[in-house]
Symmetry: C2
Subunit: 112 residues, 2 copies
């Protein structure tokens, strides 16, 4: 049985988070806590150019903190998840679990 | 332990499917099998204008089939998931489950 009166869980997905590369960045940052730009680029199989724009979106939204510094003489950029970023990722996961439950069981959301 | 040598599961998400409204459309079509445009619009809380563009993307990608007809004298549009759409939705769910597992367990993917 599907309760079509409820708003569909897809409606509540956050467009900032629910985007392939941005979701990948948040996931890696969540796993690694503090991640170096080059490492993130390799982990996601992206070029530096393809990573900058989604990172800027996440930084503007306050979900990722960017820290610039040096490792010896090499300029480095480190990224970490902010508390708001952590919350946004948890909310995305909760919404996705509701959606997956609907897809797999064809019905109502599980009880909270 | 995280196996950083493996490609990250976010890399393999399909950009056509991994978009909020398009993912919602596929989910509703999967649940309802054949869904009327107005019903889909209400289920996702969208205007007709906001629904047309993502539907066109899904139709061009061969994931949704659009059928126009009449119900009495009223013009109606019905949408249904194609076999390719069903496969794409299943792949999205499998990838999301891998990502959620990483986020929740901070580690490797579960065994297949």
């Amino acid at each position: 049985m599907t309760d079509w009166d409820d708003p569909h869980p897809a409606v509540d997905l956050d467009d900032v988070v629910h985007q392939r590369v941005r979701f990948g960045i948040l996931t890696v940052a969540h796993q690694a806590r503090r991640v170096e730009f080059g490492f993130l680029r390799t982990a996601l199989g992206l070029t530096a150019g393809n990573l900058s724009q989604p990172l800027a979106v996440l930084e503007r939204a306050g979900l990722i903190e960017v820290e610039k510094g040096y490792e010896g003489r090499l300029a480095r950029t480190w990224l970490s998840l902010t508390p708001a970023g952590d919350r946004a990722l948890r909310e995305e996961v909760a919404q996705l679990e509701r959606l997956i439950h609907r897809i797999e069981h064809g019905g109502q959301d599980p009880l909270p």
